[in-house]
Symmetry: C2
Subunit: 244 residues, 2 copies
DNA sequence: ACTTCTATTACAGTCACTGTATTATCTACT
DNA sequence: AGTAGATAATACAGTGACTGTAATAGAAGT
């Protein structure tokens, strides 16, 4: 759930990841519907991700070996690594999508809007669109449990967010004509991404605590607003030591 | 350099890390001077860290195997892992010290001071005390080069900082009687640690760029002040899109 | 010298991940 | 339909971080 949208989407599988073969299997003649034929490669990839998720849910990420996943999916271990360059990628599919969308939103913000304002719009919009049916809820819950239980996956998630922050930082640096030693773009970018992370964490906690579906978007949005307001107004009025 | 002090200090080696043996080899009768006898364990540990650093500097963290380090230090591979639970720990010794000091400073802040204010005092004090002789500069430079060249180490560093942030977050949550779903303590903690990270990055960059020793503390402090001021006053006035 | 720790080693193994060469399978073209 | 050419999967052999356990060597104290 490096992207809130992943909660409400089939989590991960769209397109190849290696980038090397991004150009090779293009949309062939047939318009590719969601449940459509799908190439062999795509089928295998999906099967692997699903098998892995099932096993991770049953026993935890760190207690399942790649060899087991391969066997359960009826392929060789090597095949798993042909599709996913690391075990963690079986959970986090590829999602440049989030990064791209975030950057586009910031880049295209109207005059007078701050980077924070743009990110606020972006995230509120995304979380506002969150919607759950039983199936999605189930997947989101499984994912939350898996990630919560695995330091390895949490580390990977930090890495993903760090990448987003880097990209945002770069954008802000360019826009502000800031020199590379100016720390402000970095602080801004990282702080904004922290709010995103916090929202994810709060949604996950709510999901695992059994909060009903229709309350989830509200919680996420509250979390978001609280965090962004704090950053917008400044931290120096928060956590002030009082006598007693 | 998860701790600015590490730049100006013998980087890493004071005390055991496993915690399990924290109580076992206590200060024995003799007052332990810096260059003093040191137990066999301590000597081996230091030798390993030094050997490793040397090799990492020569060829890069990821291109040196633990087996090579062991051989170069005249011990078994297993011995390395008896002393350091992961390869990365050969670079980042143990430093609960930073965490403890940071938390103490926040905990003990005077009435009317915000968490940000306390962290500002803390960091300014630390960076203000930075001092370099040729030897320290050399070590800092080697460390900067090693870390800059290794994604593995950067990931580890993020993990360390995440731990600091968790601890600070917990402290603020307790102080503010915030309920666990309140995101503000987390945002505050992470944002403040981001400033720390940014300062480290700026010092490293300066060191690698050959900036003279006596300018380094000034740069660090400027970076710190810039970052903290931004967070103190709020992000909503920064990176505002202007016409054109 | 003898016991008692503790540090180190020997050894055997697990698991993520890589590279290469080979076989199976699928697609396109004639 | 049949076959060439790509593509997916496999077999195989390895590297490297890391673990556990039992045996040995070294330092310290009685």
């Amino acid at each position: 759930m490096a992207d809130p949208r992943e909660q409400a989407a089939p989590a991960a599988q769209q397109g190849a990841q290696q980038g090397a073969q991004r150009q090779s299997p293009p949309q062939q003649g047939a318009p590719q519907r969601q449940e459509a034929p799908a190439t062999r490669k795509e089928r295998t990839r999906r099967r692997l991700a699903e098998t892995a998720t099932r096993l991770f849910t049953e026993r935890g990420f760190d207690l399942v070996t790649v060899a087991e996943i391969a066997e359960a999916a009826g392929v060789t271990e090597k095949t798993v690594f042909n599709h996913f360059k690391a075990k963690e990628d079986l959970v986090y599919g590829d999602d440049d999508a989030f990064e791209t969308a975030l950057l586009d939103c910031v880049r295209a913000r109207p005059e007078g809007e701050s980077a924070l304002g743009a990110v606020r719009r972006f995230l509120l919009d995304r979380y506002g669109r969150m919607a759950f049916d039983a199936d999605r809820r189930g997947r989101a819950q499984a994912l939350a449990a898996i990630v919560t239980g695995s330091p390895t996956l949490q580390a990977r998630e930090r890495r993903i967010h760090a990448r987003y922050a880097d990209a945002l930082c770069e954008l802000i640096t360019a826009e502000e004509h800031a020199d590379p030693t100016d720390i402000r773009p970095r602080i801004t970018a990282e702080a904004l991404l922290t709010v995103h992370r916090g929202s994810i964490a709060s949604v996950r906690a709510a999901i695992l605590a059994g909060v009903p579906d229709d309350e989830l978007p509200g919680r996420a949005i509250t979390t978001l607003r609280t965090g962004l307001d704090l950053l917008a107004h400044g931290l120096d009025d928060y956590a002030v030591r009082t006598g007693g």
